[in-house]
Amino acid sequence: MSVTTEIAERYSVIYAENIEKISDYSSPYINSFRKPAFEKFRELGIPTKKNEAYKYTNLNIFFDHDYANYFIPVASDFVKAEEFRCDVADLDTHGIVLLNGFYPTINDKLRKLPGGVWVGSLNEAAAKFPDLIEKHYGKYAQSDSDGLIHLNTAMAPDGMFIYVPEGAALEKPIQIVNLVYSEEDIFNQHRNLIIVEKNSEATVIVCDHTLSPKKFLTNAVTEVFVGENSHFDIIRVQNEHNNAGKVTHTFIHQERNSVTASNNMSLHGGLIRNSTYHYLGGEGAETSSYGLFLTDKWQHVDNYVNVDHAFPNCTSNQLFKGVLDDMSTGVFNGRILVRKDAQGTLAYQRNNNIILTDDAKMDSKPQLEIFADDVKCSHGATVGQIDEDALFYLQSRGINKHEARLMLMFGFAHEVIQNIKIYPLRERMDNLVMQRLKGELSRCASCMVKCG
C-alpha cells in the first residue's frame, strides 16, 4: 500500500469511529452531506505534491501523524470551557471565542447583535434557521481536486455561524478568536458559514492561536455568501506555534455589485496553508485578496488564491507579500480565471518577497487562464533581498543598520497592512508585525486573549 493510501486509510478509520458521535450533534441537513463528502475524500485523498495546487507543500508532516484524538466536543468540554474563560481584550469588537473549533458555551450558543445580526454555533443555527442553512450550506465550498475540503464536510462537528440580514450594517467588527488548546496532540476541523445578505455591511476578524505546546492540526472550511451590493471584509490573523499545522479554505461567493476584501496575516505557525477562493458571481463585483507572512526557522506558509471572474465588469486585485528568514519556505500560487463571458474584467496580481538568508526559499506561481478578449490583467512576482540603496539611505541619516533593516522590512509589510480599513486594527497589526520582526512576539499579548 502506498504512503498516500495509508494516510487516507487512517482517516477512514477515524471517520468510522467518530461519524456517529459527530452526527448526533449535527442537523440532518448538514449530516446529509457527510457520506458523499467522505466518498469524495476517499477518491481524492490528502493532497500531495502531485496536485498542482499543492506542488510545493508537503502536508504529510501533519497529516501522517497519530493524534491522540479527533476532536469532538463532549458535555465535559463545555463545562471545562466555561471554567477556562478567555476574554478578548477590547478592540471594540463583538468578540467570540472558539475552542478547538467549537463554540464553548452551554447557553447562549446563538447571540443576537444590533441590527438583527446573529452569531454563534453552526449546529445551533441549523436548528433555528433551517431555511438559511439549506440555502447556503455546502453551496460554495466545492472542489474536484482538494480532498481536504471534503474531509471537512464529512467530519467537521461544528463551527461559527454569522448571519447579517438584508440592509444591516454592523458598525463594530465581529472578532472570532480561534483557540487550540489541549494537553494531547489533536486534530480538529471546523466549518464556518457567513451569510451577508444584500445591501449590508460587515467585517469579520479571525484570530488563530495555539495555547498549549502540543502538536495540532486544524483543517477549517469557511463559506461566505455576500449578497448584491454588500460590503464584506475578512481579516485572518494567524499566530500559532511551530508545532501547529493549519489548513484553511475560505470560499467567498459574491453577487452583483458587492465588494469584498480578504486579508491573511500569517505572523507565526509551523505549517500554514491558506486557500482563498473568490467567486465573482455577478456583474460589477469587486474583490481584493491580500496576504502577508513572516516566517523563520523551519516554518512553511503557502497561500493559494483562486479568483474566478464568471461575470462581466468585475475587478479583482491580489497583493501578497512575504519575509522569509532562516531556512523557512513560502509559496504563493495565484490563479486568475476569466471566463468567456466575463468581458470588461480587470484583474491584477502582485507577489513580492524578501529572502533574508541563502537557505530560505520562496516559490511563486502565477496562473492566468483568460477566455474573454476584453480584459485587463497584470501580474508580477519578485523574490529579492533587502534593498541596499534604501538601507544606506536610512543609515546615512544616523539610523543603525539593524534598525534600518527592521524599518525596511516593516515598510515592506506595511503595504499589505495599510489595506485594513479599521484604523485601530491596522495600528495593532503594525505593532504585531513590528514585534514579530524584532523577534519579540509570543502571543498577541496586548492583542487578544486573556485566559485563565
Binding site: 546615512s396 541619516r397 544616523g398 543603525n400 525596511l408 495599510q418
Partner: protein, 254 residues
C-alpha cells in the same frame, strides 16, 4: 573640520578617485564642479560611507577623527549629511517615523533625551516652514511618488531636521525648476551658521547665484584640477569645461 589627503578609491576594481586632497574649514561653503564622470558623486559617497566604494589609499580626517573607520550612521550622528543626487523611495516607511527615528538616534548619541511625540511634531512643523516644504509630504512614505523637485526639497528638509556640521549636497539642483531651486538654495542659506560647512556638488553655475561659495573646485578624471574663488564658477559657465580638459592634457604632455 574636514581634511582629505591623497584619497584614492575604486568601484568594482575601476579607479575613480585618483588622489584628492581638500580641506574644509568651519563656516566655509565649497562648490565642487566638473564634467560628468569626473568623480564628484564618488567623493560624496566615500564621505558618507557607501560600502560600494573601496578606498585604496589616502586619509580622511573629520573633526580630528578617522572618518573612514566609521559606519555611515556614526558619520551622520557626528554631523555629516549627504543630500542624495537620487533620493531613494521607501514605500511603507512614513517620513514622520523615519525622521523621528533619525532625530532620536542623533539625540541619543549626544546624550539628550528623545523628543516627545508632540515636541517632535512641533519641530517638524518649524523645519517644514523653514524650508518651505509642503506639509502633506511629511505624511507620506519616504519619497514615494514624489516628483523630482519634491525629492530634492525633502533632502533639504531632512538636512534641516538633522542640523549637520558638514553637509554634502550632491547635485541637489539638477533637474529643478527655478522655484524649486530657489527653495533649495534658501534652505541652505537659512541653515548656514558660522560653525557649519557645505560642500555643494553641481554642474551648473545657476545654483551658485543663490548659494555663494567661498571656494570653487573643479574635478576632472578623479582629481581636483583647479581651485579658486567664486569667480571660477562664472568662468566655467561661460567657457564650459573644455578649456580645463585642455589645460590638464597639456600639463600632462608638458
Amino acid at each position: 573640520m574636514l581634511v582629505i589627503n591623497n584619497l584614492k578609491a575604486s568601484i568594482a576594481g575601476k579607479n575613480i578617485l585618483k588622489g584628492i586632497s581638500l580641506e574644509v574649514k568651519p563656516g566655509e561653503i565649497h562648490a565642487l564642479m566638473g564634467p560628468n564622470g569626473s568623480g564628484k558623486s564618488t567623493l560624496a559617497a566615500v564621505l558618507a560611507g557607501r560600502e560600494l566604494v573601496e578606498v585604496t589609499e589616502g586619509t580622511v580626517t573629520y573633526l580630528g577623527k578617522n572618518l573612514l573607520d566609521m559606519p555611515p550612521e556614526d558619520r551622520s550622528k557626528e554631523g555629516i549629511f549627504l543630500g542624495f543626487q537620487y533620493p531613494i523611495e521607501i514605500p511603507g516607511v512614513s517620513m514622520v517615523n523615519f525622521m523621528k527615528t533619525a532625530v532620536n538616534e542623533h539625540r541619543k548619541h549626544n546624550g539628550i533625551e528623545p523628543l516627545s511625540a508632540s515636541d517632535f511634531l512641533k519641530m517638524m512643523r518649524e523645519k517644514k516652514e523653514l524650508v518651505e516644504i509642503d506639509s502633506k509630504l511629511a505624511n507620506r512614505s519616504v519619497n514615494e511618488g514624489y516628483s523630482g523637485g519634491e525629492k530634492k526639497k525633502n533632502e533639504i528638509f531632512q538636512m534641516a531636521m538633522l542640523e549637520p556640521l558638514l553637509a554634502i549636497l550632491d547635485e541637489t539642483d539638477s533637474g529643478l525648476d527655478i522655484d524649486a531651486l530657489r527653495i533649495v538654495a534658501n534652505g541652505v542659506n537659512r541653515l548656514k551658521r558660522p560653525d557649519n560647512s557645505f560642500i555643494v556638488i553641481t554642474h551648473y553655475q545657476r545654483l551658485l547665484d543663490y548659494i555663494v561659495p567661498d571656494v570653487v573646485h573643479v574635478m576632472y578624471d578623479g582629481k581636483i584640477v583647479k581651485t579658486a574663488g567664486k569667480e571660477l564658477a562664472l568662468e566655467l559657465e561661460e567657457k564650459g569645461y573644455d578649456w580645463i580638459k585642455k589645460e590638464v592634457e597639456n600639463s600632462i604632455v608638458a
